[in-house]
């Protein structure tokens, strides 16, 4: 790879560039710190003049998410981005997308809550993302990038998954990954799909006049309970497929580990440094980084738990993913949580102190 292909940019900027390059048809969003650079970068890049991608500053987050319903329903690769309180506003739209099985990409660059909270980084939306803040039995696929490179790489991955399963996909980042600059190699250019390609690939899409078939209707409303039950069973079967096929995680130094830190996104980066320091002190500790938060790497956590004397869930929140870890571990070993809230980001040293506090034999 040529040196000139390596760029230095913020995670937010990387998302915007990657969207243009991976054939995104439309972005609809409303500014909010710490992710406004996504909309700003798209506005300055003017992709409507090159790829034809639409970039629209909507009147609100509620409008944005419903524009995804329309665009995604027409088989277009559409996305929005916001930060925690803005994503909270979108929850109704997200459950409608899930119910109507409309593919879409939602980026959440998290900040501290609850409420309007703070503009500083947090991972307090794990529950909102993995459990769903909207109503009904639904899931969205949740990808947790831990670097600027993954911010770029996950855009195309998210669209691929969204269309493969007709499901909303969320990239769950946070203020650290959004604001930091690192090296990044942007994905190669890929054209937007043509109308013919959409017609071929998305036979369910509402693409206007279709004389050769019955009209498609995309709705989450079904008043007949029997039909609604069948729809729910279909959705649940789809979710089981995703759980079986799409779990992603990374491990570091787990082979001989007797202690495990589980961390995602920016917390995983902080944990890496803590683990490097502890390894230097002959503490056999490793890292499991869930890349998909839903589907969660339940089976891998279960396998690893049999060799561990203790597991620390390190999250920048009050303890949310730790519940998924405990469900996987089923009491086989000790599971503790460490985290901070309110936009305070723990340092590697504090993670090490937490390990010693929770596992006093270390």
């Amino acid at each position: 790879m040529a040196q000139s292909d390596i760029l230095l940019m913020k995670g937010n900027e990387a998302i915007a560039h990657a969207a243009i390059r991976c054939g995104c048809d439309g972005y609809f969003g409303y500014p909010i710190t710490p992710q406004s650079e996504i909309l700003e970068t798209l506005a300055s890049e003017k992709p409507w003049e090159t790829t034809g991608m639409v970039v629209l500053q909507a009147e609100s987050e509620v409008a944005s998410i419903n524009m995804l319903y329309g665009g995604g329903g027409a088989g277009k690769r559409v996305m929005t981005s916001s930060s925690s309180p803005g994503i909270a506003l979108m929850q109704e739209g997200i459950t409608y997308l899930a119910g109507a099985e409309i593919p879409a990409l939602i980026v959440n660059v998290q900040r501290g809550g609850p409420g309007l909270g703070t503009i500083q980084p947090s991972q307090g939306d794990y529950f909102q993302a993995t459990r769903g803040g909207g109503n009904g039995d639904y899931q969205v696929i949740v990808l947790a990038p831990a670097s600027v490179q993954e911010m770029a790489d996950f855009v195309d991955k998210a669209f691929t998954l969204a269309f493969r399963y007709r499901i909303p996909v969320m990239i769950l980042a946070d203020g650290i990954i959004g604001q930091m600059m690192e090296k990044v190699v942007l994905p190669p250019f890929k054209p937007r799909r043509t109308e013919e390609e959409i017609r071929r690939d998305c036979p369910w899409a509402t693409i206007g006049r279709t004389p050769d078939r019955k009209p498609n209707i995309l709705t989450s409303l079904e008043l007949r309970p029997e039909a609604m039950e069948q729809h729910n069973l279909h959705l649940q079967a789809k979710y089981r497929d995703i759980e079986a096929c799409e779990v992603l995680y990374e491990e570091e130094q787990t082979a001989d580990a007797r202690y495990l830190i589980v961390a995602f996104g920016s917390a995983a980066r902080i944990a890496q440094k803590a683990i490097d320091i502890m390894r230097g002190q002959d503490i056999a500790v490793g890292l499991l980084r869930p890349v998909t938060l839903w589907p969660f790497p339940t089976e891998r956590v279960r396998q690893l738990s049999t060799q561990m004397k203790g597991i620390l869930s390190f999250e920048i929140n009050a303890g949310q993913m730790v519940q998924d870890i405990r469900l996987a571990v089923e009491g086989r070993t000790r599971v503790a949580h460490y985290g901070k809230m309110g936009g305070i980001v723990p340092t590697p040293d504090e993670v090490i102190t937490a390990m010693h506090t929770e596992f006093t034999e270390l």
Partner: protein, 180 residues
């Protein structure tokens, strides 16, 4: 080799830009870099700081609690970061407006009067490049010609006529350290 650097001062002094130029120059030399700003409702006169890590190896945490080098451009930054320099580390500070100079004796301290030097050059906006020149004289993390190349690549073309003034400021910063 890994250098964990904090650059801290007032908003408007060019703290974030200086960090970006440093990171970009290091990237051009094939090094690993991270640039993590303290972001917020920043404004001219408020506080601004950025953590820049330059390394030959993969960078794990972009957020650290102690630093190899602190570049300090005002009193509140000195108060906050003097204690975070690792023993044996380096602290470079601009003397302007500093009423309580650093007291650590287990680190190497350089005072540079970059604000005065910028005035001398008639280039107030060159302040951050004077500071960067001083930093690079103390720690030759990247070559000066790569810094100039980085400036060329990151500055919009309409500002390219300022490149000679930036080079002059960088060299001024280096000479301040040389004379100590």
């Amino acid at each position: 080799m890994t250098q964990e650097i904090i650059i801290s001062g007032f908003g408007g002094q060019g703290v974030l830009s200086m960090g970006k130029i440093l990171a970009y120059s290091a990237l051009m030399e094939g090094k690993e870099v991270s640039w993590m700003p303290a972001y917020g409702p920043e404004q001219r006169g408020g506080t601004a700081n950025v953590t820049v890590i330059v390394s030959d190896e993969r960078i794990s945490s972009p957020i650290v609690s102690t630093f190899d080098t602190a570049v300090i451009l005002n009193q509140p930054s000195l108060d906050r970061f003097e204690s975070t320099v690792k023993p044996g580390g380096t602290l470079i500070y601009d003397g302007y407006g500093i009423s309580q100079p650093p007291r650590r004796t287990d680190i190497t301290v350089y005072r540079i009067d970059a604000m005065d030097a910028a005035a001398e050059l008639g280039n107030a906006k060159g302040f951050n490049m004077i500071v960067l020149g001083a930093l690079l004289k103390v720690h030759p993390l990247v070559r000066i010609d790569n810094v100039l190349q980085a400036l060329r690549k990151t500055l919009p073309e309409r500002h390219h006529h300022l490149l000679p003034a930036n080079e002059e400021a960088l060299r001024k910063g280096m000479s301040i350290i040389e004379q100590q």
